[in-house]
Structure formats: structure tokens, C-alpha cells
């Protein structure tokens, strides 16, 4: 057994050139091979990479898809975004757990299977969704869950499961210049070579392209700053760690438009003088890996990657895929770089910024998938053409990921400036109460604000557009988002590590009917602390969904404030529940209220 583990680990380490910078990749592959990361595998990594065990265990413990304890041959993780819940995921999970005789979050006694939840897996347009051993299954129904339970009980290898389970549809519903324009794989690079690096940079600047991850930093300025920064190497990184719940555009871009994303990366390399690039692909999109390798190989064959690209001496550039392993925070660019370097995904102290001090301390451009794809269009069609689309401050188009209560969830591309109302009408949403733009860390837009526009100057977004009709309880939406931040906090800084959990407890207290105006006050105070004291954007925005829904949907909170005066979260009667279960009693005398009434 140990010999087998050793040789498995050895071959993985050799494939990664015994480079400890690839530790996350190595651990991920060990897990794929062994179903978990056994202590013997860590022994071997420790010896072969000459790393302290603390370092290996520290990294393995950080990522939620890496297990240092056995989690079963089949590891089922249900996507727990609010949109999955609205599609009935909770009932299905309970059903699956009953069918498999396993408790949620635990491993079955025979070690066969574990069933748990994970943050949004990016399948909101075709949920409820789950991951089994990191492979996505969509459109779950009770019947499909029954079939899956049978396959698991019969120990059917994943490769023999019906291929239809793993089908992921693009669901492109509205195309604009990005999704409708044909672009030959080499066209943008040829145009760029004709213009030269300076000329290309000028076009990118002229286009007014801004980062599509949500923050909206000028792409031209970023590339120029990196180009001007001194370093022994320059790097280009594509941020495909699309973790913001409700976002799934990168999934579609990488499935069906990968060529223009890779072309965009190559253009950035041409401008900044990079020879190496990385795609940081979120672990949930593991199923895209083979496809991306094939596109990369095709581009190498066509001399669009590799040495002397399109015959230009000295223009050498190639791209490696790094897989994430379940950590939303790695979407933050400096945490992503840490993860690329094989470390825990903790955001760095900034400044310095990645453009001057990024991967391995060298100047690094990190851009969103959609930004690179847009750059490829701009290289071919020119900056002025692109700047003419959209609004004055938000050039071009934006891909929206529509999910939730609507007839046609999916991908909608619009020029910037589209109103929320237009999108709702196009996707067939009726009786809409609110839209959550850009995920939990974004903005909640109520009905009276549906004429607001998707644009950096009004509603900036990374893409998520979650629709809630009047049946939905916006308090429960906010509570789901707060639970998300708790799950995804990296734990580095005190306010976010502890504060998000405290906030969760407050929301759960309101949900349990113990709320009072005091708790409202506490939530507002917590918001100030998280916003001003947190190390990175995750903690800073963790209160947003709560404050937003308090401001816009106060009645949903109000009716939970049963008490006018402070009530402790601790409930004596609830504390007796375990004793009632143990004694099999539920009569009046076994309840605290009855006892207290009898007291003099």
C-alpha cells in the first residue's frame, strides 16, 4: 500500500519538476489519485520536495477540496448558492443523505461516500448542481439523485456514469460584439504584430477597456505599468477563479471562446514582455481542463504560442494551467498569486501591487477572463471602435450571468448602460422583487431602482445578476450570503475571521426569532469594523448584503424582531432539546416555559 502511494506521489512530483512552487497542484493530484491526502503521501512530499511538514499541512488545510482525512471514494459537494436553494437543493440533499444513510457533512461508516455543501459552483443557470470528486453534475432532480445514489452504492466508477449528467450548457441568450463576432484564432495577434507593442498598447488605452472582474481598473494603465516595471521576468495571469456566487460567464468564455481568451493573454505578453503565463482555473471547473489543454496544443501547432510566435524572433510565450482547489478568496489577485506559488491563498499586503511585484516577486499582469477576451477583439478591430460601444465611462459590452426567478436563465451580453429593467424583460422575469448585482459582495437592487444601469458609474458588476421574485424572503437571501462569507474567509485577519462568524450568529439569532433592535445596532457596528479593519475586500464587503437588505427590505427584518428588548441568543428551552431527545419526552413538563410558569 505505502509503496503504491510512494510511487504515485513520485510520479506526480516528477511531472511538476520537483518544484515546491507547484505544491497546490501536487496536492490536488495526490488527492485525485488517492481520494484523499494520506499521511504517507505527505511523508513522501516532505522528503522529495524537502519541505517542512507544517508547510505542506498548512497548504493542504487551507483549500476546501483537499482532504487530510478520508472523505469517501465518492465525495459529493452540493452547490449552496441561494439560487440552488431556490431550485430545491436542500430537499434533494436531505433526500440523498437518507438514501445513502449518511449525515450531511460526514463520511458514511463504510467509508464509501460523503455528502456536504460547498460555495456556488457556477452552474446557477442549470442548477441545482453538485460536484462529485470535483466533476460538475447539473439539473438535479429527485429521479437523478436516486440514480446517482444507486451508482454510488454499486460502486460504479465515475467514468462509467451517464455522460448526460455531466453536460454543461452554455445557455447564451443574448449576443453582442464579444459573443457574436467571429474571430480567427490568429487574427488579433497578426494585427498586433503589425502595430507593434507600443501601437497595441495605444489601442488598448484608446479603447478605455476596464477590468471585468468588477473593480474596473484601466487595462491599458495596468499593462503599461507592468511593461515599465523592472524585473528579471514578467508574467501574465488569467484570473479564471470565478467564485463570486451567481457568476458563470468565464465558464462559457473558456468553453466556447477559449481562443480569444488565450489570444488576449498572448497580447498582454507581447506588450509587457512576458514569456510565461498562467490560467488560474477554479477547482469547480476541473471539467474544462482537458478542453483547455487541447486549445493550448492547437495554438502551439499554429505557432500562436511557443517560441517565435508567428515567426517573430524573440516573441516567446506559453501558458500553463493551474487549478484552484476550492477557495473563493483566491479570486483576489494577490491571494491568487500566493496560490500560484504553492502557498495558502492569503491576500498579500498591498502596496506593492502585482504590476510591480507579483508572481515570484516579478511584475505581473492579472486580468479577468473577459478582459483578455475583450483585448483580443480590440487588437483586431481597434480601440476607437470599442470605445464607441457602451457609455462614456464604461466602454464596450458586459456579459451578465442571469439566474434565479426568470424564464430564461443564462448568458446575456449587453453594451454597458443597459438598465436592470431591460435585462429582466429579456430574461422573462415577472413579479420581480429584487436583483442582486455582482453577487454577495455587490448591490441589492429593489423594484424602485430597476431603471439603474449596469455600468462602472452606476452598478458595477463582475457579471452576476440574480433575480428574486416576490415569493422570496430577502432576509434569507442575505443570510445565505453571510454564511458564504464565513465559509470563504481565509482566517488571516481578526475582523474577518471572527467578525464574519459573529455576523452569521446574529443573522441566525434573528432567524431563530430572538432578535431585538439591539441586534440591529450590533450588525451596524460590525459593518463599520469589518469595513475599516479588514485586510482585504472579502471582509470589507461581508456586511454589504445585510446592510443593503436592511435599507431596502426593512420589513423582512422587522417582523423578526419579536422582542423589544435584548434577548440573549442562548435559549434555555432550546438547550433542553438534547435532554428531551435522550429521554424520549416532549410533554409539557419537559419544556422550560412550563417549568418557569410553575415557579413562584
Amino acid at each position: 500500500m505505502n509503496v503504491a502511494i510512494e510511487s504515485t506521489v513520485d510520479s506526480i512530483i516528477e511531472r511538476y519538476r520537483s518544484d515546491s512552487g507547484n505544491l497546490v497542484q501536487i496536492l490536488r493530484e495526490v488527492q485525485e489519485a488517492c481520494d484523499w491526502i494520506p499521511p504517507e503521501a505527505i511523508d513522501r512530499i516532505e522528503r522529495r520536495l524537502r519541505l517542512p511538514r507544517t508547510k505542506i499541512e498548512g497548504v493542504a488545510g487551507f483549500y476546501s477540496f483537499l482532504y487530510t482525512r478520508p472523505r469517501g471514494r465518492y465525495r459529493v459537494l452540493w452547490s449552496d448558492n441561494i439560487t440552488d436553494r431556490m431550485l430545491g437543493s436542500m430537499e434533494l440533499i436531505d433526500h440523498m443523505c437518507r438514501e445513502l444513510w449518511v449525515e450531511r457533512g460526514k463520511t458514511s461508516e463504510d467509508g464509501l461516500v460523503s455528502v456536504a455543501t460547498t460555495s456556488c459552483t457556477g452552474m446557477c443557470d442549470q442548477g441545482p448542481a453538485l460536484l462529485v470528486n470535483n466533476h460538475a453534475i447539473t439539473r438535479l432532480t429527485r429521479a437523478r439523485v436516486n440514480e446517482i445514489c444507486t451508482l454510488i452504492r454499486d460502486r460504479t466508477p465515475l467514468t462509467d456514469w451517464p455522460a448526460g449528467y455531466f453536460r454543461v450548457d452554455d445557455n447564451v441568450r443574448r449576443q453582442d460584439v464579444m459573443l457574436a463576432t467571429e474571430l480567427d484564432p490568429g487574427a488579433s495577434l497578426m494585427a498586433a504584430l503589425a502595430r507593434g507593442a507600443e501601437g497595441l498598447l495605444a489601442e488598448i488605452r484608446r479603447s478605455n477597456l476596464r477590468g471585468r472582474g468588477g473593480a474596473g481598473f484601466s487595462t491599458g494603465m495596468k499593462w503599461e505599468a507592468c511593461r515599465n516595471a523592472t524585473g528579471s521576468e514578467h508574467y501574465v495571469v488569467c484570473n479564471a477563479d470565478e467564485g463570486e456566487p451567481g457568476t458563470f460567464k468565464d465558464r462559457v468564455l473558456l468553453s466556447s471562446y477559449a481562443d480569444r481568451v488565450l489570444a488576449g493573454m498572448t497580447l498582454a505578453a507581447f506588450v509587457v514582455g512576458a514569456r510565461k503565463g498562467f490560467i488560474y482555473l477554479r477547482g469547480e471547473y476541473r471539467y474544462l481542463q482537458d478542453h483547455l489543454h487541447a486549445v493550448l496544443a492547437h495554438r502551439r501547432n499554429r505557432n500562436l504560442l511557443g517560441a517565435g510566435i508567428l515567426g517573430r524572433t524573440g516573441f516567446d510565450f506559453d501558458i500553463e494551467i493551474h487549478m484552484g482547489a476550492g477557495a473563493y478568496v483566491c479570486g483576489e489577485e494577490s491571494a491568487l498569486i500566493e496560490s500560484l506559488e504553492g502557498k495558502r491563498g492569503t491576500p498579500r499586503n498591498r502596496p506593492p501591487f502585482p504590476v510591480t511585484c507579483g508572481y515570484l516577486g516579478q511584475p505581473t499582469v492579472v486580468n479577468n477572463v473577459e478582459t483578455f477576451a475583450a483585448a483580443a477583439l480590440i487588437a483586431k478591430h481597434g480601440g476607437a471602435w470599442y470605445a464607441g460601444i457602451g457609455t462614456a465611462k464604461s466602454a464596450g459590452t458586459k456579459i451578465l450571468c442571469v439566474s434565479g426567478d426568470c424564464a430564461r436563465p443564462g448568458i446575456y451580453e449587453y453594451p454597458f448602460g443597459v438598465t436592470v429593467r431591460e435585462v429582466l424583460s429579456d430574461c422573462g422575469a415577472t413579479d420581480t422583487q429584487a436583483v442582486q448585482i455582482s453577487g454577495p459582495s455587490g448591490t441589492c437592487v429593489p423594484e424602485r431602482e430597476f431603471d439603474r444601469r449596469v455600468a462602472f458609474e452606476d452598478l458595477p458588476t463582475a457579471g452576476a445578476f440574480m433575480v428574486f421574485d416576490h415569493r422570496r424572503d430577502m432576509f434569507e437571501v442575505a443570510r445565505n450570503f453571510v454564511h458564504f462569507f464565513v465559509r470563504e474567509s481565509c482566517g488571516f485577519c481578526t475582523p474577518c475571521r471572527v467578525g464574519t462568524s459573529l455576523l452569521k450568529n446574529m443573522m441566525d439569532k434573528l432567524a431563530a426569532g430572538h432578535g431585538s433592535p439591539y441586534d440591529f445596532n450590533e450588525i451596524e457596528k460590525m459593518n463599520v469594523i469589518l469595513k475599516s479593519m479588514s485586510h482585504c475586500g472579502l471582509g470589507q464587503s461581508a456586511c454589504n448584503p445585510v446592510l443593503d437588505t436592511i435599507a431596502k427590505f426593512r420589513p423582512t427584518y422587522q417582523r423578526r424582531l419579536e422582542h423589544e428588548e435584548f434577548r440573549p441568543a442562548f435559549d434555555l428551552d432550546r438547550a433542553l432539546a438534547a435532554a428531551r431527545r435522550m429521554t424520549g419526552r416532549d410533554d409539557e413538563q419537559a419544556h422550560f416555559d412550563a417549568l418557569s410558569e410553575e415557579m413562584p
Binding site: 507544517t54 499541512e57 498548512g58 483549500y63 481578526t494 475582523p495 471572527v498 457596528k525 485586510h535
Partner: protein
């Protein structure tokens, strides 16, 4: 030392490359801090040293001083928030000062006193954390760990052992030791290690040394933490 910036209106000189907290402590200006230590690479994780620089909050241990910076430090709003962070650390772990050998020379306790903390304010988490008493000379009490990572940095950068690290994530972040068994006894840590002495709380303590200094005469019984400005010398027997 030609350039200066101001902290609460008072000019503070600094040398090129110094962080705000380095310059402040050198100039006798106290900024509350837990994970910062003058001998180690700044971490910026406890956030207790947060100050306002030109109106924006930032950790003073990671921000370099620049000429003309306007820094706010000892203000009621900042101290309120720092107190809240200390309260969070108290409820996150299991801290029972009266029974802790570190009481009186503990930076968490002293910072709480200094910031006027009268209660933990938040509901306790009461986490289920073990005590590792396996080592012949040392006691490792995870209940008191505040995840400042000073032992991690000291063991890696001074002792050359990497005996400690942080693992887990979020509220489940925890200190681990360099042994397959997970036991301190199976690491090569010794009582003389810098990592052992740098702990600001009572998480790593020498065994069989109780009440060596009587209560009432311990470091922060004599004067409050802020009066030391930098208490490193006072609490660490290096």
C-alpha cells in the same frame, strides 16, 4: 532621520524604509499591537495596530512611513474598533485569565486593560480545543492561541525549524506543529527556542514554572502596556 510625518499632530522622525509602527515606537509613541514584533517580518493580521493614514484605515505594521503623512492613532473611534478586535480574540478562544500562568505578562490581557475592555461583549464561541502536554518541557495550550503567527515566524526565521504553522481556514484556522503525530513532543522544539519565548499569550509555556513572579509584581502589574511603548524587552527573557 531627516524626514518626518505626524501622529495625532506630533511630528515623528523616521528612517527610509521604516514602517509607521517602527518609527512610532522608536519615538516613544505607543500604537497597540499584538502580532507585530520588532524582530520579525511584519504580518499585519491582528489589525489591532490599525491607524488612519490620510483618512484611510491601514495596518501601521505593514505601511511604510512617508514624508508628510498624517496619521491618526489615539482617537476614540480607532480605540473603540481596536477594543472590538481584542474582544473578538477573547471570545474566539478560551481565555481564563485567573488560571493562566501568563496573567500579568500577557499582551492580550494588557491590551484589553489598556483599551478599557470591561467585558467580552460578544457571545463566546467556546471552541473545543485540546491541550498538548506531550512535550517534557513545554505546554502547548491551543485554547489561548490568538493566531498571531509569531511562533511560526520565529521558528522558521530564527530557530530554523518551521516547528509551527497555521493550517485550516477561516474560523477553523489553527496552529499546527511539525510532526506527523501532531504532538509537540515529536517535534525538535526545545525550551530554548525563540519561538517558545515570543508567544504574547499563554499558548506556549515552560512546564514546572509557576508563580516564579508573584501576581501583583508581574510586568503589566507594575505599569500598563502603553507605558512601556514597546514591551518586548520586559516580557521576553531573551
Amino acid at each position: 532621520m531627516s524626514a518626518t510625518f505626524t501622529i495625532d499632530g506630533k511630528p515623528v522622525p523616521y528612517a527610509e524604509g521604516q514602517t509607521i509602527i517602527q518609527a512610532a515606537l522608536a519615538a516613544g509613541v505607543y500604537i497597540p499591537h499584538l502580532c507585530y514584533h520588532p524582530d520579525f517580518k511584519p504580518h499585519g493580521s491582528c489589525r489591532v495596530c490599525t491607524v488612519k493614514v490620510d483618512g484611510r484605515e491601514t495596518a501601521s505594521c505593514t505601511m511604510r512611513a512617508e514624508p508628510g503623512m498624517v496619521v491618526e492613532n489615539d482617537t476614540p473611534p480607532l480605540n473603540d474598533q481596536r477594543r472590538a478586535l481584542v474582544q473578538m480574540l477573547f471570545v474566539e478562544g478560551n481565555h481564563f485569565c485567573p488560571s493562566c500562568e501568563k496573567s500579568g505578562s500577557c499582551k492580550l490581557q494588557a491590551t484589553a486593560y489598556d483599551l478599557g475592555m470591561m467585558s467580552p461583549h460578544y457571545d463566546h464561541f467556546y471552541p473545543d480545543r485540546p491541550v498538548d502536554a506531550s512535550h517534557p518541557e513545554l505546554l502547548l495550550d491551543f485554547n489561548r492561541c490568538i493566531l498571531c503567527s509569531l511562533c511560526v515566524r520565529a521558528s522558521r526565521d530564527v530557530d530554523g525549524r518551521s516547528a509551527f504553522a497555521l493550517s485550516g481556514r477561516g474560523i477553523r484556522t489553527r496552529l499546527i506543529v511539525n510532526a506527523k503525530s501532531g504532538r509537540l513532543a515529536d517535534t525538535d522544539v526545545t525550551a530554548g527556542d525563540r519561538a517558545v519565548h515570543v508567544c504574547p499569550v499563554g499558548a506556549i509555556l515552560p512546564k514546572r514554572r509557576g508563580f516564579a513572579v508573584p501576581i501583583g509584581r508581574r510586568v503589566f502589574d507594575l505599569k500598563p502596556l502603553s507605558a512601556y511603548v514597546d514591551a518586548t524587552e520586559a516580557i521576553e527573557d531573551r
